[in-house]
Symmetry: C2
Subunit: 135 residues, 2 copies
């Protein structure tokens, strides 16, 4: 589901290389969070994980995620998303992680010998604070 609140202003904010924190659920249902790169990709959130990450097991077991994206300009402007994993796909040529690395660092991803996966997340709810609330 594409959230109807995803305005052009929000798309623009979310398209910057912003700090982002993603929360997933452990087997016992407890939340766990970590900072992550993300891309807004066709109105979905895309992240890319090392295929051996515990976080990936979390996402396969329970697709519910929360993300808070802080504006790169001021973290008092932020967007929080509740979403659901729509698709997990292998990234055999590392083009997925490279697109994230280029977005954030301008360079391809330095680690070339680890399997990666792309995870696409549907935005189900979205809340905004600070300047983002006006977008």
């Amino acid at each position: 589901m594409t959230d109807p609140q995803l305005t052009d202003g929000l798309r623009e904010l979310l398209s910057a290389p912003n700090p982002c924190v993603m929360a997933t659920l452990r087997k016992d249902g407890s939340p766990v969070s970590v900072a992550t790169w993300y891309l807004l990709d066709d109105d979905r959130i895309r992240v890319n994980l090392d295929a051996d990450r515990v976080r990936l097991q979390h996402l396969r077991r329970d697709p519910r995620v929360a993300m808070t994206i802080l504006s790169a300009e001021s973290w008092y402007s932020h967007v929080s998303i509740q979403g659901r994993v729509a698709e997990i796909t292998d990234d055999p040529d590392l083009s997925g992680i490279d697109s994230l690395a280029r977005h954030y660092t301008g360079e391809q991803y330095p680690v070339r010998d680890r399997a990666r996966v792309d995870v696409r997340i549907d935005i189900e709810r979205l809340h905004t604070w600070g300047d983002a609330a006006a977008l």
Copy 2:
């Protein structure tokens, strides 16, 4: 429980006015996250909420929380905490929220007519990335 990994270096990092994202659990068990002020207070994490926040209902129902604290200097250095609410106390004179506001803004909290509560969170697990990993 005080986490044995909370070294002096980590205490120093966590004592800065850093961006922080906190994840709680909704009634249906799904995670929800939001940016928040926090203070490291006697090796616990303290946050302060408007007494009418839905997030407070989450914390009363399920005390399990996750937090990711991004270093104010670079978000590539970050600390993620899994914790549990130890104590929820009223903040009738607003001294709790004022201590957070002064830490982040240098000023007392501007809103004086809303009930607030202090929430103290025990650190149960802690993971570090980037420069924080060396602390």
